[in-house]
Symmetry: C2
Subunit: 330 residues, 2 copies
């Protein structure tokens, strides 16, 4: 089965199991963000069109379903994490100066940077407001901790931009904050709010962290190799912004001094031409294979975190998600 | 006494009464934001230099002191509101493309817009994280509600930018969200966390709202008339960004058709020359007097909200703050 079809099939099976819960999450999401201000509603409607796979709500709901069953608090928490994720996307698009996301113009290209900044803030504050509707401060605290780390991860990425000698270790630290942390949060919340024991919560949190890491490596590979038509977003922005990703780090580490200086020179002059040339060098090297192997190893580790769960359709879907993480086409 | 001196005197008296509490707030603020990431610490240190009057923590602490006494929760809450305010300043400076604030380069001019966006986010998420350290979700919910409205106010301001026919009513709605809401929140929290009765909480919340409104009008007047050296920030940005403020709305409403079209033409061509010309027209009109009268009326209303409080040094300082709101030079 091709990658795209596999993704659609998985999505259908998720829909069969938790479709009505996802619809409930959507309702909570919309109710929280409904505004009397028509301008806010316009931007909201626009942003809704580029929200994508709903990975984060799906993680909350599937981990809940796999550990005891979905409760109304999970709907609220799913809407919260989706709001936070959407806020980071809206703000990321300013940082990346991206023009499209999921085939739709980004907020900053359709309106302006100011609107992107404020609408992202609006999503953040609503996320925290919604989280505070739960009975205790537990979720607020956990979400606060995770989002603190997300921001630090993103700030580190900016600091390291243009550092063409970024180590693999530093790369993994950055994506741990920027992507894996939020996925870990989702699974932690899913399991915690079914009253799971601490060990189960920890295992699922770790599952989310590893899954998020594998997803991010796949995302970085797509940015280098993907098809803009299929992914529906501006690609090549990592190269353009001199963000070092795993395949590039590998390429450099395997090159002799002469090739290295040539690659560094190309990276220092971002353009469509140098991008093509770098892509060619990457395809001649083991960089893609190496990165994919890493992603597969991490996804396999993620699977083992599910070992102690009783068999269930939700557990099966979590396992399939960890396979899918590395097989993405969009 | 000249305005600047009056401000310094008031600040000294505040320091005498609640100086040790402000120091405690500063400690909580710093501890929450301390990071292992040297880049984050650099930006933090830089931003600390342009944090200003500490108006919002002062409001939390004085309302607490005036209604029963400052508790440790007030230190936490003061740090939270200061973080939120600082986050909005950092993001505002992107919106305004301002180069200086309090004599210090803004984050976006010193680093870049990306860093401003993310550091503002970092402040927001830490504010909510810190708020979740309190016992109940009450503060999180209230802070969530208020910040939702702050974002909507800011988004409305952007939507109305360039709308040179903005009504006085719409202007007041915008500043209610953008400025007054957060001041109302501060006083609400201050009184609520001394276990004040609902009526006192409402009165003090209203005091904060009116005080914030008076402050904002004074701020708008400063942007038109102030001295960059004294205020320490880029001025004239309202005119440049075609933000309609009270003096301009008044000027237009009092002009005949011919003058109106001339003013609108000037507003449509922002430049240092047209700015000087608009300032001249304003000084020949009653726009400043009118706006100042409004601010004074609102500040006087604010004072009456304090009527039911028992006399105390804190109450006196709150009254003096409402006088000072309209007498600012920076």
């Amino acid at each position: 089965m091709d990658k795209k079809l596999a993704g659609i099939k998985l999505h259908e099976r998720v829909g069969q199991l938790i479709g009505s819960d996802l619809a409930e999450v959507e309702k909570v999401f919309q109710e929280e963000l409904a505004s009397k201000n028509p301008y806010v509603n316009d931007v909201y409607t626009h942003v809704s069109r580029f929200r994508g796979k709903r990975l984060r709500p799906i993680l909350v709901l599937l981990t809940a379903e796999a550990t005891g069953g979905i409760r109304s608090s999970h709907h609220v928490l799913s809407a919260v994490v989706e709001m936070i994720h959407t806020a980071t996307l809206v703000h990321d698009d300013i940082l990346d100066e991206a023009e499209t996301r999921r085939h739709v113009a980004t907020v900053n290209s359709r309106w302006n940077n100011e609107t992107s900044v404020l609408f992202g803030d609006f999503l953040f504050t609503h996320a925290f407001h919604l989280a505070s509707s739960l009975e205790t401060t537990y979720a607020c605290r956990l979400i606060g901790e995770a989002t603190n780390l997300v921001c630090e991860g993103e700030l580190s990425q900016i600091r390291e931009r243009g550092n063409l000698e970024l180590s693999e270790e530093a790369y993994f630290q950055i994506i741990d904050g920027k992507t894996a942390e939020l996925c870990a949060l989702c699974c932690h919340l899913g399991a915690y709010y079914t009253d799971s024991d601490q060990e189960t919560v920890n295992q699922l949190s770790q599952f989310g962290r590893l899954l998020g890491t594998a997803f991010q490596i796949a995302d970085d590979l797509l940015d280098l190799q993907g098809d803009e038509k299929e992914t529906g977003k501006s690609l090549g922005t990592d190269l353009e912004k001199q963000k070092m990703t795993l395949p590039l780090i590998r390429l450099l580490s395997q090159s002799d001094d002469e090739s290295s200086s040539r690659i560094l020179k190309l990276l220092n002059q971002p353009s469509p031409e140098t991008r093509t040339e770098i892509q060619k060098l990457i395809s001649e090297s083991d960089a893609v294979e190496y990165s994919m192997k890493k992603a597969l190893e991490i996804a396999a580790q993620a699977r083992t975190c599910l070992n102690s769960l009783n068999p269930s359709p939700a557990k099966q879907l979590l396992e399939d998600l960890s396979d899918f993480a590395t097989q993405r086409s969009s």
